[in-house]
């Protein structure tokens, strides 16, 4: 069960108000350290920053509209060994979902972690954000412009720029499974921000005089989220349909992946690809000359570097069941391959086999880590 409150926005400055809220959390030891997006000194982007000294909260922006890296990986570094204190982390919905998946793969421990999820207005590519901020001089109102659409759930990106495709088709604009939820949808962000707290925390925050909560919830937020989710699902299905009509056989898939240079960026950016040593980086894939020549002999010739199709299909088979759709693989790809769409479209069906939704609950076992005795009986030719 959870409790909620409306945070009154001071001076028409929602980001400043949230900054004060986080300063309270840090100063009054609700958290001992806070991971939160902070504006780079250059002004053209944000980076997640682990803050201990509240003075460093200057220029943090919990609503920063970029995801330069998937914070779930950072959370893994911070919690896989006991951090010895309470760590708060300000995350977007996709990052919370990735954290939930990594908990199941024993890469994140929740014991000392306070997940603070924010309603997501969508994100720009970091390069797009940088360009935009230079055009606008300071870039101070890029978040503000997105925030204008929060109340109605009609978010308009800056003219001439698109939100990342993954965000356009994201059906989870609001975070779930977080200890603290910062809600923007359905309210006027110049006036008030919805805050939801899990029960234990609600007590602590009231006790420390930070925020008093009730059990009310927000029906206006719920209805905006419902509508926004529906729109996103529609857009998602259009993207999936387009992809499926483009990729119908081996040749189509090869064409879709043809400009891949095997840089592994998609794998490095992926929060679910957590293996410390990926098989593709082991000597198994350091082929010798005679191997290349043998393949070239057999096939008449061989593309180099090789194993492109194998790489993508293996990544699919290893982690697509837990793909949470953050789209950071797309952002990381130097050649704009439709990696995220491939993973999301295939993932939808594979996850569907096991009625599994990545990020939904820590209690659901990931499909690759479990089995049922009476399933998939046709696979062994016995039905």
């Amino acid at each position: 069960m959870s409790k909620s409150a409306m945070l009154e926005v001071k001076n028409n400055d929602p980001i400043g108000t949230l900054r004060d809220f986080f300063r309270d959390l840090l100063e009054k030891k609700v958290v001992d350290a806070l991971l939160i997006p902070k504006k780079l000194p250059s002004g053209d982007g944000y980076c997640q920053t682990l803050i201990r000294n509240p003075e460093l909260l200057v220029d943090v922006n919990p609503l920063a509209p970029t995801v330069p890296v998937q914070s779930a990986r950072l959370i893994s570094h911070l919690t896989i060994m006991d951090p010895g204190c309470k760590v708060g982390a300000v995350l977007k919905s996709c990052e919370v979902r990735a954290v939930i998946e990594l908990v199941k793969f024993l890469q994140v421990k929740l014991d000392r972690l306070i997940l603070i999820g924010v309603d997501c207005l969508g994100t720009y590519e970091p390069s797009g954000y940088a360009k935009m901020s230079r055009e606008k001089g300071k870039g101070g109102s890029i978040t503000g412009n997105l925030l204008k659409g929060a109340r109605e759930g009609k978010i308009k990106p800056q003219d001439g720029y698109d939100l990342r495709l993954a965000c356009q088709i994201c059906e989870y604009p609001n975070p779930q499974n977080a200890d603290v939820i910062i809600g923007l949808f359905g309210h006027n962000p110049q006036k008030e921000i919805y805050v939801e707290l899990r029960d234990g925390l609600a007590g602590e925050l009231a006790e420390k005089g930070i925020l008093a909560t009730t059990e009310k919830g927000s029906s206006s937020r719920d209805s905006v989220i419902e509508r926004l989710t529906e729109e996103r699902l529609k857009r998602r299905d259009e993207v999936f349909d387009a992809f499926r009509s483009r990729v119908k056989n081996l040749q189509d898939l090869m064409d879709a992946l043809s400009t891949c240079i095997r840089c592994h960026n998609c794998m490095v950016a992926c929060p679910i690809c957590y293996c410390k040593e990926c098989v593709f980086k082991t000597p198994t894939f350091e082929h010798k000359a005679d191997q290349f020549l043998r393949w070239a002999d057999r096939k008449g010739g061989v593309r180099m570097p090789t194993d492109t199709l194998l790489f993508h299909l293996i990544r699919l088979s290893h982690m697509v069941t837990s793909c949470i759709g953050c789209g950071l693989c797309d952002s990381a790809c130097p050649n704009d391959l439709p990696v995220a769409t491939l993973f999301r479209a295939v993932g939808q069906k594979v996850q569907g086999l096991f009625d599994y939704t990545p990020g939904r609950s820590v209690d659901e076992e990931p499909p690759v880590a479990t089995f049922k005795e009476d399933e998939l009986q046709g696979e062994s030719g016995t039905n």
Binding site: V247, K248, N249, L250, D252, L253, M254, S258, V279, W295, A296, R298, K299, G300, G301, V302, R303, T306, D307, T308, L309, L310, L313, I314, L316, S317, H318, V320, T321, L342, A345, V346, K349, V350, L353, P367, V368, T370, F371, K372, E373, E375, L376, E379, S380, G381, T382
Partner: protein, 140 residues
């Protein structure tokens, strides 16, 4: 023209199917020589990377042989193998590849005849399908 002879790469579990294949030999069961067997300790040790590497390099079929459900020497390896194959086949289905080149079969140590019959049947089916198109895929 010479008749197409498919080449099958088989990953067989030590405790059941590999021993079953052995029995097929010692009891002089006849089956086509199109199969290349790789000895695994368990079907649960067959990562999808082995299956895919074989297919992309031009194998016409991949056979994964394990113990019958409930009989796994390591309790549950075969169930895990079945999940992996199920996931891989769904991926194949989604990107428009034929999944019929991948066969998962439960064949126990005492089923030499079943092993011979399975290989015979698989060779027949693969002949009908023709050569794996990936055999000449230089771009892979």
């Amino acid at each position: 023209m010479e008749e197409f002879e498919p080449r099958i790469i088989a990953f067989l579990c030590h405790w059941c199917t590999y021993t079953g294949a052995d029995l097929a030999g010692t009891t002089r069961q006849q089956y086509p020589p199109n199969i290349r067997i790789i000895h695994m300790m368990c079907s649960g040790a067959v990562d999808t990377i082995y299956i895919l590497k074989a297919l992309i390099d031009g194998a016409d079929g991949v056979l994964i042989g394990g113990c019958h459900p409930g009989d796994c020497h390591y309790q549950t390896g075969n169930y895990k193998a079945r999940r992996r194959v199920g996931i891989l086949k769904e991926i194949f289905h989604q990107v428009g590849f034929t999944e019929d080149r991948i066969w998962l079969r439960w064949i126990s140590a005492s089923e030499g005849k079943l092993f011979a019959d399975t290989v015979t049947q698989m060779v027949e089916e693969l002949k009908k399908m023709g050569p794996n198109p990936m055999k000449k895929l230089w771009l892979a």
